[in-house]
Amino acid sequence: MSLYFTREHEWIRVEGDVATVGISDHAQTALGDIVFAEVPEAGKTLAKGQEAAVVESIKAASDIYAPVGGEVVEGNDALSNDPELINRDPEGEGWFFKLRLDNPGDVDGLMDEASYREWVQTL
């Protein structure tokens, strides 16, 4: 298992050829109280960089772009009734979707956890 982060504050956990995607603790803190999340359904194909999910806090709406490309194997259904899960456990139970990676090389160049945590400190 490998954990990667983007500069858009998404995390990608890769196990075999399946990547789980969510937003970082830093991102949920910046967004504030999350009141709505819309995640892609299984079967949807996402290109890297494509609009994949929507997360809305009480303040603002944000789009989540697919940090890697592939076919969605599962969206996190728990978020529709309990979007606050993203605030409570952003890097665990508050995941957004899982997809089967088209190209394992998509994660090349993403930050590892230590680099991300260090970079976030500088923001």
């Binding site: 504030g32 109280d33 009141v35 709505f36 819309e38 929507v54 809305e56 009480i58 303040k59 709406a61 529709s80 979007p83």
Partner: protein, 401 residues
């Protein structure tokens, strides 16, 4: 004419006279970041964990612990808001009431001493230049206007009022709002006697050793107070208030969601120069005498709208699902025709559902009318809802407790 003054509304006599007002390019909405001003409570907000954002030309706290928690705290306890960005004016001089009535459609001549009224500064075509609170203090009027519009308002007043009516801008005066069902118990301990004030009544008190002009008013729909104190004393007053366990500091984010639930319009969003008091559902601010006599800016159009109705009306929307619909969504009728736009919207912490406000063609303004809202190419089922979304709990004297 208008001037900047160092005194406040608590000075009983001889308002200190400063330099005449010369206009201020800084501090307005859209001001360059380097020109953003700091509030007297800037360090205080930061020490309480306030997340500061530019708003109306000032660095202001958008939230402390979080908008949801702050919102619900205010509805159940008492929230302290720093609204020092708002413009505090004193209008005085010969027949100030009659002079102001040429611009505002409200009852000022017969307004009793120490009572305040919500009113509107109107342009010649009845458009709303600003909304405001005006309090009679003897022959003078203490007027509180919005922060982003205050310098423009002063120019309008200076331009339109007779030369012998003076507008003092009290730039060294801070303004706090204490709102919520426990506001009265918290403030009574520090400023004995405030519990005797009725809704929309003010008076001179002392708090933390400082003279304070306090009125029973606010913009959350809750019982509460607005407290004007010298900027040099506002940190001591804020400390004294938040020492009470019922009181927590509340940011702009919750201020916005609270006023939205209360159905109260936000200037620059729900009302502006393209809207009139009748369109905006603010006809209550025009009393019987003013309707009969007219004589205010835009009266011809507004009296006609009172008689015949306005083409559009401000309404509330309740929206299916959980996703917020915000400002700027198109409002569609059953055939898909655009019949209006949303002007405010968000997730209601009290109701745990999305709510919005906006304008629709008047024939669709009836409560319960089904409409669709379109935001980012997505359609939302909505119905016209009664305003306020959350009932007001003002302290009206003589009303049953």
């Amino acid at each position: 004419m208008s001037r900047e003054v160092r005194g406040g509304p608590t000075d009983q006599h001889n308002q200190a006279r400063g330099e005449p007002y010369r206009g201020d390019a800084e501090g307005g909405e859209g001001a360059p970041v380097e020109n953003i001003q700091t509030l007297a409570l800037d360090a205080w907000h930061r020490s309480k964990g306030g997340r500061m954002v530019p708003f109306a030309g000032y660095h202001m706290p958008v939230q402390y612990e979080g908008i949801m928690a702050e919102h619900l705290w205010t509805r159940r306890n008492a929230g302290l808001f720093d609204v020092s960005h708002m413009g505090q004016l004193l209008v005085h001089g010969r027949d100030a009431d009659a002079a102001l009535e040429t611009l505002l459609p409200g009852e000022l001549k017969m307004l009793p001493d120490m009572k305040l009224r919500y009113s509107l500064l109107l342009d010649e075509s009845g458009g709303i230049i600003d909304d405001l609170m005006a309090t009679r203090r003897g022959d003078d009027f203490y007027v509180v206007v919005n922060g982003a519009t205050k310098f423009g308002d002063i120019e309008v007043l200076q331009d339109k009022l007779p030369r012998d009516v003076i507008v003092d801008y009290m730039k060294e005066q801070a303004l706090l709002a204490l709102q919520g069902p426990r506001a009265v118990e918290a403030l009574e301990k520090l400023a004995p006697g405030v519990s005797e004030l009725g809704f929309m009544q003010g008076g001179l008190f002392h708090i933390a050793g400082q003279p304070a002009w306090i009125s029973r008013s606010g913009y959350t729909g809750e019982d509460g107070f607005e407290i004007s104190v010298p900027a040099a004393a506002v940190a001591a007053v804020a400390d004294a208030l938040t020492a009470d366990e019922a009181v927590r500091p509340i940011g702009l984010g919750a201020r916005d969601s609270l006023r939205l639930e209360a159905g109260l319009p936000l200037y620059g969003h729900d009302i502006d120069r393209g809207t009139t008091p009748v369109m905006a559902g603010l006809s209550f601010a025009i009393n019987k005498r003013r309707r009969a006599e007219g004589g205010f800016a835009g009266a011809m159009r507004i009296l006609a709208e009172l008689e015949n109705g306005a083409p559009q009306r401000r309404v509330g929307f309740e929206i299916d699902g959980r996703q917020p619909v915000r400002e700027g969504a198109r409002v569609l009728d059953g055939e898909g025709n655009e019949v209006g736009r949303t002007t405010s919207g968000g997730f209601s912490p009290s109701l745990q559902r999305p709510i919005a406000m906006g304008y629709v063609a008047s024939h669709l303004a009836e409560v319960g009318t089904p409409l669709k809202l379109e935001q980012r190419s997505k359609l939302f089922e909505a119905r016209v809802a009664a305003l306020p979304f959350v009932p007001h709990r003002y302290h009206r004297k003589g009303a049953a407790a």
